[in-house]
Symmetry: D2
Subunit: 350 residues, 4 copies
């Protein structure tokens, strides 16, 4: 990181950036109230820090060995003083550091009427953001892949319904992007771009969605350690996009024999990650457990652990859902979840 | 399982038990308000159920294929009607189905004064049961193994302090048993016998502690699936002891790279297990995270997930503790944990 | 699957394919010596099998519930009789079912001279195929990402060297594709397209590389079970490309404390997978262990387990490599590995 | 470790040992050809090394921070010069550093005739040591627990058959000990005492079997990292018993969905462990895979990885076995395994 003097000029900053680029790296310039800090993106072994430190306007030039630094608390503190939590604004919703935010909706969008019915239901239940899958990542090519599988037109139609439902019920909307060719299309329609667990390691896709400048909902892969998760979030940040909402959605279960839960929801990751980064982090108890009858308990637990919100799959008739019916709850059940979570949040934040 | 008629006589029950023993199995007789049910312990393939069904007084004889049945909800329901939760009484403390119970104390007992100071501290903080390790299971033979390592005398002295501290501050006491030769000794001094995670699979030890007739605090091994955990609890139940307090304390973390938590606290196991068995289940956020700074969050989360209590390591000066200092909190911190957990419990149980 | 009569006409086959498409699925037509078999690709719940069975020329129409069927032994046997192993031809090299094939080369291409030197070395050591990374997937955006990171031009230059080295030393070449925008470019230059472990779940990328009609080297993700691995290989097969070389490269290590190997090489997966599919499977002991000093042993073990080949990272001065030096061996060491593996192969195949 | 001068007297050694005991630790005295080395067993933080270094006859006094040191290569090298492999002699069988040793026999002893038939079969097939379970550790109290479950008498009878079969066919015998009360009994009858995977963490049992002075076959727990495995082997060594045969038998499988193997046989652990310790290490492909049809491949792979031997479950009619029939092979199949493994061993050791 290059810490500039408080009175460093734009020209001095530009010179530092130019020198960094000469070494084959990219530069991330963060302007704080008092000073600017320049983060290096790339292989720092290529850089002569003594040379950078001697440039005009530079206060300090330090090599940092961690795989995530742009999103770290340390970095934010350098130029902004105490920075407890970033707040990501989507419409009039604030994510991070305050009241928990509830994202809800069907796993997959199946039709317009279905989506409108569910959107109305979750709005009444108190949800803030509407989700709905168009491009579904599936373990089997022989499973229903979402309406996005019906070509460009099918995708546009489903995305249009999502936008319409969001506008009608005054909720920002989010959907998942699974491949690079979907980025521009999806970004036209939704407020938040979701990268699912299976794509967490897909660095080319991360760079591409990062560049769109929209908030990203970024899910942890089920085989990823916390360091890996944050290191791949850094790929998004490296594109100048710090509007990242992290999401814990369960890791591979340990132990032989019958599985009682589809994944192991790693709730300790929530406070552990909050100590590393100021980015908000939410939990997904639907995928994390794979069981309707555990969603209430794990929602309460996630909020009690300090999660900044929840993402919950909701369907008006879960038993008829094309995908993941066994892990969806009804809007009425969602209302109980939200009410209880809000009361729990009050207990931990007083 | 053999379900007897409501008017079955003692002689008829005895005859069924005798027939079961002839096949090389053991029998567990549970007398409900209306009828008796006889559980078979052992390899049911040796048994001719048609023959048993034909005995006088027998209503039904059913083979059950699950590895845990004596502790299952189904079994309890057969003879006792609705049986939402077992309640285990230790002194005037009730564990299970009501207010959460807080077990606290040092990882290892280091001396009498230390123990009394901590006992006083946790009592004031609102804890119900005092813990303190005498026989410490350790990964290295070169680590401090607890005062129990100082021979029979050292063990008796430390156990005596534990009993004294418990009496003085009116709390039942619990300590861990690591080997078969410690069972009788420990049972003389404490109210609850603890089997630690590393001994979960030690079926001979389980049978031996089961026979003492005292409540058992039984911890899940960090490599065990839920089915295994319950199947080994069944070894205790098979000795006629149904006073089993289960404890989730974290499983092996997944993911390469730096570990942020010592284990992964599997909180979804709590409601999942509560759907299988009526036994109470608590959580241990101290071992489950290995980090002082995560204990508050994970305590709140465990109670929100429905845990019947918590076991927390407390020390008056954690940085000087001989064992596990990095995961112990002070009595003052414990008070905040207990108060917040009690408020959270009210939110989920209304 | 739709099994056609031995005398079914092209028109009859076309009609079945058309009916399948009407249901929203795709069809995979395999023509065997005696009969054709049509595999359904997509959600079979949308299909009325009784209707298909009644079409002219159809012998049998069966729903198959497994997530991988196009690559399964059962499917191949339907139309080709006994089909022990598929053989994938690349230049004059045969992969599968015969002598083990050795793929070697540097983790990342660093320069032309380096590549030519290493290519010469591995050729002399007995290797058959040259590998070299241009687009490197890395856990950190701050690590060296391969020469492919230097824009289109840098990528073309490095890919050109790879093709040149392959031609000069008469070896087919393989390199990894990390994102969709690289597919066309890479396919211009190399004989085998590699999908790395981190992209295993990236179904849009799999479909895109599958369509190129070139052999695919497909690596198992380190968090993937065998069923998932084969189910994602099916995404490639669903594009009509059955030239898939599977690769076991290690799964997430279990167990707390210091890691002795970077991953756990799951060698039992090799014979287990060979019982499910006729596709060849090789092992990568370099990534699988992350340790130069274990490569000899694990290469021998993989061949003894029945692997159809090995992929080994080789560098002429491993200690100076920009990436993964700690897991690369020299050409001289490679020769010992290849010689020993060939002798071991003779022992298991007599 | 305390390294003595080459001319240190017995009195000087005794004085060092006495000083170590004063600190509450134990001492392990190893006499090499040239000098003696004294290992400290226990918490070295209690020891003043400067004080020990100043005692007469002491050359050097060094604190060692690893959890396994008595069994480490470094320790052995201190007093014995190069010490590539320890060789453990059992009857006229040498285990370690030479030809691979084959241990075979039924999972559980079911009767005398069965055992004699199998013993004869494995002897003819080329096996060196006979195994047979009397006390079976089982996940369910409702499964067959071995003839040892029939009280002291049943156990003695089965153990007697095992000894008799061993004598008749001139093979040392090994059986598993599951609890502390079985140690003395079993040691009367068998040549090698086995500690199974489930008891790996049971440090009181390890100390007790260690004291018997007989060779110990010590299996890795399925959730244990390599460091833990070796640290618990150190509990045996701490009792002065260095005759420890390590055994890799598979770790918990990763990955959702259907399991293709019961465990993941971690073959890289074999060479990795051989670099840490001179103790022999064998593999158990029967438990490691849980599948008859994978035993040949994984036996070959383990020997190719450098294993000092194999332990394989054999039954003359596997489909009728009371326990684990799906993972046992016949004596005829064993012969093919042994012959092939011996040929493979020649290839890696020339």
């Amino acid at each position: 990181m290059i810490i500039m003097n408080t009175d460093a000029t734009k020209e001095q900053i530009d010179q530092v950036v130019a020198e960094i680029k000469k070494c084959g790296l990219r530069a991330d310039v963060s302007k704080g109230e008092y000073r600017s800090v320049i983060g290096l993106i790339g292989d720092e072994r290529q850089v002569d820090f003594a040379h950078l430190a001697a440039l005009p306007g530079v206060k300090e030039a330090i090599g940092v060995e961690t795989p995530y630094k742009l999103i770290s608390r340390e970095y934010a503190e350098l130029f902004e003083g105490v920075n407890e939590h970033s707040v990501i604004k989507v419409g009039n919703i604030n994510i991070g550091g305050g009241e928990p935010v509830f994202i809800a909706g069907p796993c997959a969008i199946e039709g317009k009427e279905q989506l409108l019915r569910i959107a109305e239901g979750i709005k009444k239940a108190g949800a803030h953001i509407l989700r709905g899958g168009v491009f579904k990542p599936r373990s089997s090519v022989h499973s229903f892949q979402g309406l996005g599988a019906n070509g460009q037109e099918g995708a546009r139609e489903a995305l249009g319904w999502l936008r319409e439902a969001g506008r009608k019920f005054e909720m920002p909307v989010v959907t998942e992007i699974r491949g690079e060719t979907q980025v521009d299309l999806v970004a036209e329609y939704v407020d938040i771009l979701q990268i699912g667990a299976r794509n967490m390691y897909d660095q080319d896709l991360l760079a591409k969605v990062g560049m769109k400048g929209k908030p990203i909902l970024f899910k942890r892969h089920f085989g990823a350690g916390i360091e890996e998760f944050l290191s791949f979030a850094e790929y998004i940040a490296a594109e100048g996009n710090r509007q990242i909402i992290l999401c814990e959605r369960g890791i591979i279960p340990i132990g032989k024999g019958k599985s009682y839960t589809r994944y192991t929801l790693d709730l300790a990751a929530i406070p552990a990650i909050q100590k590393e980064t100021h980015l908000p982090i939410i939990a997904d108890p639907s995928h994390g457990t794979g069981r309707r009858d555990l969603i209430f308990s794990m929602s309460c637990a996630a909020i009690a652990a300090g999660a900044d919100g929840l993402m919950i799959e909701v369907h008006d008739s879960p038993e008829e859902a094309l995908v993941d019916g066994q892990q969806m709850i009804t809007p009425d059940e969602l209302k109980v979840v939200i009410d209880t979570c809000q009361r729990i949040h009050k207990q931990i934040s007083r």
